[in-house]
Symmetry: C2
Subunit: 347 residues, 2 copies
């Protein structure tokens, strides 16, 4: 008998297949291959092929938009939103619209065309996290924006149009629906219990261990209780904090460690799958709430979203999170990629 | 400058690209091809390869699960939910679950392995709609169920695992999130205006004509104002009704006409794309409300859902609905497939 499970934050129900649970090798998928053919606008020497940079780390001496950088942020050449202009709002009978003001940037994570967040060294990954943070702080000065999403599409199947590893950042003039839902759910729980629901979840999951993927001194990685997708994972800071960018500096080195470990495991268990990564963080102006807890969500691209999901908002997850967490914990990383013994009970 | 638009029912915002609007030929996609290789469990003579039928039309004389049928419904061989057992609910610390009780059926729309809803004749399509209705009425007798979703995945890219044309039906023990959202939005509007928001939308869209795809005496087909996907379309009955299954018989012949016309246009404009089709109808027990208006949503599979969409619930639609509606209206159908002159102003 399958199981219906409810995500305690958003109230979203999912169907977990328990009888014919899918193992990693049961998914039809293509591994992400870096081909390295053609001219890459994100490689050294092609800096003029992107819009002028808004951030770079590591370049020593030479002028802007030249080689030598270690991390580089540029406006997206084909932005989803336009950076210029005021926020005009307008009605049209029943309907509401506003002009599409926003920022859309690309963070080029390394000059190495063959690098990925699973293979880059920890210092490099930490620099990427600092770049996210610096760009967020800069864009928060723009009073038109209310939310900043940092996300990554890894691999063509996950929507990446260029293979050179990069993340994206979009600043929006409204707080998006999914964020509002998460905030509302967390707020309701706090009003009831005066505790953060994410903090409670971390405590329960570390205690039980069955959905725990990894734990370091600063972070916990979980397979969520009601995942939308097989091998979905969440990385949460152990100490309560609402905003990704509002931390003391130590946290970013810790997150780099956890990210590298988790993504290396994912590559090993699922043979380098395409994935989406999203930073869930508080809206601008709500960075220090008691109820919201920032975190990272990673969803490997293994299944198709079809009519049932579009019609209901329900998801069918063919691998129970207890199973996916076990596969992830048991992955035998090379010692260099390993940051912590995966804890939890022997299963 | 792109545009942000809000769906008035769900409150969902989308980003509409207006500068570099994508035309039908700009989408990279594969046409749905019916290969006809291998043994098909949905073809005549293979009736024993499916679970025993729960409905058939057209067979004359011979026993159940033999050839001769025109439409046939069977339980899904690999159901997402189990039909047996009580609805046990249980907590686990923070978390809630119930056992996965539900029905999951397949409606085989024609014995013709090469047929599709765009090419079958109207009478055959009407029979499919009657089969949906009959299965819904039967399942509504089961007091464990609160919602019935009928949907169709057409083509492998849209999630179909068998190419022989079929729809699916899932009966659920809870009303799904997306349905609750739509109902709540419609209820709020009704409380404010004492009018159905869908009826208002139909009036406004028929008047303006810019997003109108087609109109018959009983149905209107629109490109919605704030589509999640390019070439998304909604088919709505002109007369207010909350439930697909609660109609006088005439409506199903009318819907068959509209469906065939709309899907034939879609095939012509986008060269036989994969698509998902969902019937949005009222939950069990709420079939006659003043505020909710059943309809069909069709989303061709042309774009990838990636990190931005998963992180925000926002969608980026690269074709304004005014453009997609124009392409659909102007498609030159063969006279046999055409049911009504597409109205609306000359653009």
């Amino acid at each position: 008998m399958p199981e219906l499970r409810k995500d305690p934050i958003t109230g979203r129900w999912v169907i977990i297949s328990t009888d014919r649970s899918k193992r990693p090798s049961d998914f039809v998928r293509e591994s992400v291959e870096i081909k390295g053919t053609g001219v890459c606008p994100f490689c050294y020497g092609n800096e003029s092929k992107t819009p002028p940079e808004v951030l770079q780390y590591g370049r020593n001496g030479s002028g802007p938009n030249t080689p030598g950088w270690q991390v580089r942020a540029v406006p997206n050449k084909f932005p989803a939103l336009g950076i210029e202009g005021d926020l005009d709002r307008e009605g049209e009978g029943l309907f509401d619209r506003m002009n599409g003001v926003g920022a859309h940037e690309v963070i080029i994570e390394t000059p190495d065309h063959r690098g990925t967040l699973a293979t880059m060294n920890e210092k490099q990954i930490e620099d990427v996290l600092w770049a996210f943070r610096d760009r967020m702080f800069d864009l928060k000065n723009d009073k038109r924006f209310r939310y900043i999403l940092v996300f990554k599409n890894h691999g063509e199947a996950a929507g990446a149009s260029l293979e050179h590893t990069h993340s994206q950042l979009i600043a929006l003039p409204i707080v998006p629906k999914n964020v509002v839902e998460e905030l509302d759910g967390a707020r309701r729980y706090y009003q009831d219990k005066e505790r953060c629901i994410f903090c409670d979840m971390i405590r329960q999951e570390v205690d039980s261990g069955v959905r725990l993927i990894g734990e370091t001194d600063l972070f916990v990685t979980l397979a969520p209780y009601a995942p939308r997708f097989p091998f979905e994972m969440w990385i949460l800071p152990k100490q309560h904090a609402s905003a990704f960018e509002n931390h003391q500096s130590l946290i970013y080195a810790g997150l780099a460690k956890a990210l590298k470990d988790n993504l290396a495991r994912l590559d090993l268990v699922l043979d380098r799958p395409a994935y989406n990564l999203m930073i869930h963080t508080a809206p601008i102006g709500e960075e220090t709430s008691e109820h919201y807890h920032w975190h990272i969500e990673i969803i490997p691209k293994l299944t198709k979203v079809a009519g049932f999901e579009w019609g209901t908002g329900f998801y069918i997850c063919p691998t129970p999170p207890e199973e996916s967490a076990r596969f992830m914990r048991e992955a035998q990383l090379k010692p260099a990629d390993r940051v912590a013994s995966p804890p939890g009970p022997a299963l």
